[in-house]
């Protein structure tokens, strides 16, 4: 492959998955890669926030219950950063507390979804929709 060819390949959107359950990491990562995305993973909130600000991230999939920094705290901090606040976020959780869901949307999340109610393919579809591709 020549340099020319590499440059012509459309760049894959980079997904940042912030999630602490190893099974779910494996699952979402596999699906997004199979669907033509690039994926980086943070297993807790603090490093997730750092990775969001240091990488050319196109989309963030954010868990709520995590060690160190909760998903909503990550979202809040992300919104205070000029670079971070433009990254679209979908919050995925297995807690479906209305207050949390409301808070997430107030903080600018596209949606608050209960993980168990969606297949990985449906999540990919949502991400594609929000990325406009």
């Amino acid at each position: 492959m020549t340099d020319q060819a590499i440059n012509q390949t459309p760049k894959k959107p980079l997904i940042l998955l912030i999630e602490d359950d190893s099974l779910l990491i494996k699952m979402y990562k596999a699906k997004f890669i199979a669907e033509g995305f690039e994926v980086i993973v943070a297993e807790e909130g603090e490093s997730g926030l750092k990775m969001a600000l240091e990488n050319p991230v196109s989309f963030i999939i954010l868990d709520v219950m995590m060690p160190k920094l909760s998903g909503l705290e990550v979202l809040e901090k992300l919104r205070q950063d000029p670079k971070g606040k433009i990254i679209p976020v979908v919050v995925l959780s297995n807690l479906d507390q209305e207050e949390k869901s409301k808070k997430a949307v107030q903080l600018g999340a596209k949606e608050f979804l209960v993980k168990a109610n969606f297949t990985p393919a449906q999540i990919v579809e949502k991400v594609r929709k929000y990325l406009g591709s």
């Binding site: 297995n94 209305e98 993980k115 297949t119």
Partner: protein
């Protein structure tokens, strides 16, 4: 024994002023076997004495009590046991300004009656306290139960998400080509897992509705439209089973209701999906009507198994299923309970008419929004 109460008479107040030991500190050990308070309580007998120190010694010293007796003009002290249900709760002291032989029969009766009343009051107070404690304990247990359900449900969801996700990925061919038989088996596994997820969702919803934590997005909803949406969702499933399914909306029907759109969808879905699930042949018909000017009614009629009178009574309770239904299809026994809670939340009522082997008609009525 300790003193817990004294009458609010002038004489009693005077005695209190004279007493060198604070009232609440006058304590008599139960081992003081010659003390009349202890004797009355132990022997369940009435004692009469001319010497007040017989009643209170070994608290303080005898001379102090004799001085007080003189100052207050007490001639006789009567000690009654306070008895309730054959058990001594304590003793009463009556200090009188007359000699024993001057006390009339009527006065004796008053003393006995008063002591009895105190016994009943004390017993009631202690029962109330025990009841209160028991009640508190039940409330704590109930809260623990709710917390347990909530935690368990959330903990169940993570592995169920993984099962659902990986199964769906295999079925979609992400792990390679899948033959039809494998696909068929996987789809059974997916359905089983989805049922678990629904059960958990229902359990969490019940907890939220019952605790008043459910947030409702109330608004005006067109009931015909909401019903049409549900009808379309189940039309194919019913036809696949060979059932006729119909939706009947009379023209000019008033159907605007003030409800939560998603929840009313859940209510209608529950009724229609039950009808389709439990009917093997015949029809399912969904009928909207207006029983009066303020009310709209939705009825879901089927030619299914029917529900016996006995089972109808328990149908809307939590975790209840009809015996015939439970064997046929596995549900959580929560659907109708939630349906009822929601319909009532929206100011309506839910009911049914059914005959075994002929069919069932579930209906709800909602007030029209003004």
């Amino acid at each position: 024994m300790e003193r817990i109460s004294i009458s609010k008479t002038q004489a009693a107040e005077k005695a209190l002023q004279e007493t060198p030991i604070p009232f609440s500190k006058i304590e008599v050990p139960l081992t003081a076997e010659e003390n009349l308070l202890v004797m009355a309580a132990n022997n369940k007998k009435i004692y009469v004495t001319k010497d007040l120190s017989d009643v209170l010694f070994p608290a303080g010293n005898r001379d102090t009590w004799r001085d007080i007796q003189k100052v207050c003009g007490i001639k006789t002290s009567v000690v009654y046991p306070i008895i309730s249900r054959n058990r001594s709760l304590g003793s009463m002291i009556f200090s009188l300004s007359k000699n024993e032989n001057e006390i009339s029969d009527q006065e004796w009766e008053v003393l006995a009656g008063f002591t009895n009343a105190v016994g009943i009051a004390l017993e009631n107070a202690s029962l109330y306290k025990r009841l209160h404690l028991a009640n508190q304990k039940l409330k704590d247990l109930d809260k623990q139960k709710d917390e347990f359900i909530s935690v368990a449900a959330h903990e169940l969801r993570a592995p169920m998400t993984a099962i659902k996700g990986f199964l769906s990925m295999i079925m979609e061919g992400d792990a390679g080509k899948v033959n039809d038989k494998v696909k068929d088996y996987l789809s059974e596994a997916v359905q089983g897992n989805d049922r678990l997820i629904r059960l958990v969702n229902n359990m969490l919803n019940v907890a939220r509705i019952e605790e008043g934590r459910m947030v409702y997005k109330m608004g005006n909803v067109n009931l015909s439209k909401a019903t049409q949406t549900v009808f379309k969702e189940y039309e194919l499933e019913a036809q696949k089973k060979g059932l006729k399914i119909s939706l009947n909306i009379p023209s000019g029907l008033m159907d605007r209701v003030y409800v939560d759109q998603d929840r009313i969808h859940e209510v209608i879905s529950n009724l229609v999906s039950n009808a389709v699930k439990y009917t093997d042949k015949g029809f399912v018909s969904i009928n909207l009507s207006q029983p009066d000017k303020q009310t709209v009614k939705l009825e879901v009629k089927d030619t299914g198994l029917g529900i016996s009178q006995e089972e109808q009574k328990k149908l809307f309770e939590k975790f209840t299923q009809t015996s015939s239904g439970a064997g046929k299809q596995m549900g959580s026994g929560l659907g109708l309970y939630i349906t009822k809670l929601l319909v009532e939340k929206f100011g309506g009522k839910l009911g049914l008419e059914s005959e075994t082997a002929k069919g069932t008609a579930f209906w709800f009525e909602l007030p029209l929004s003004s």
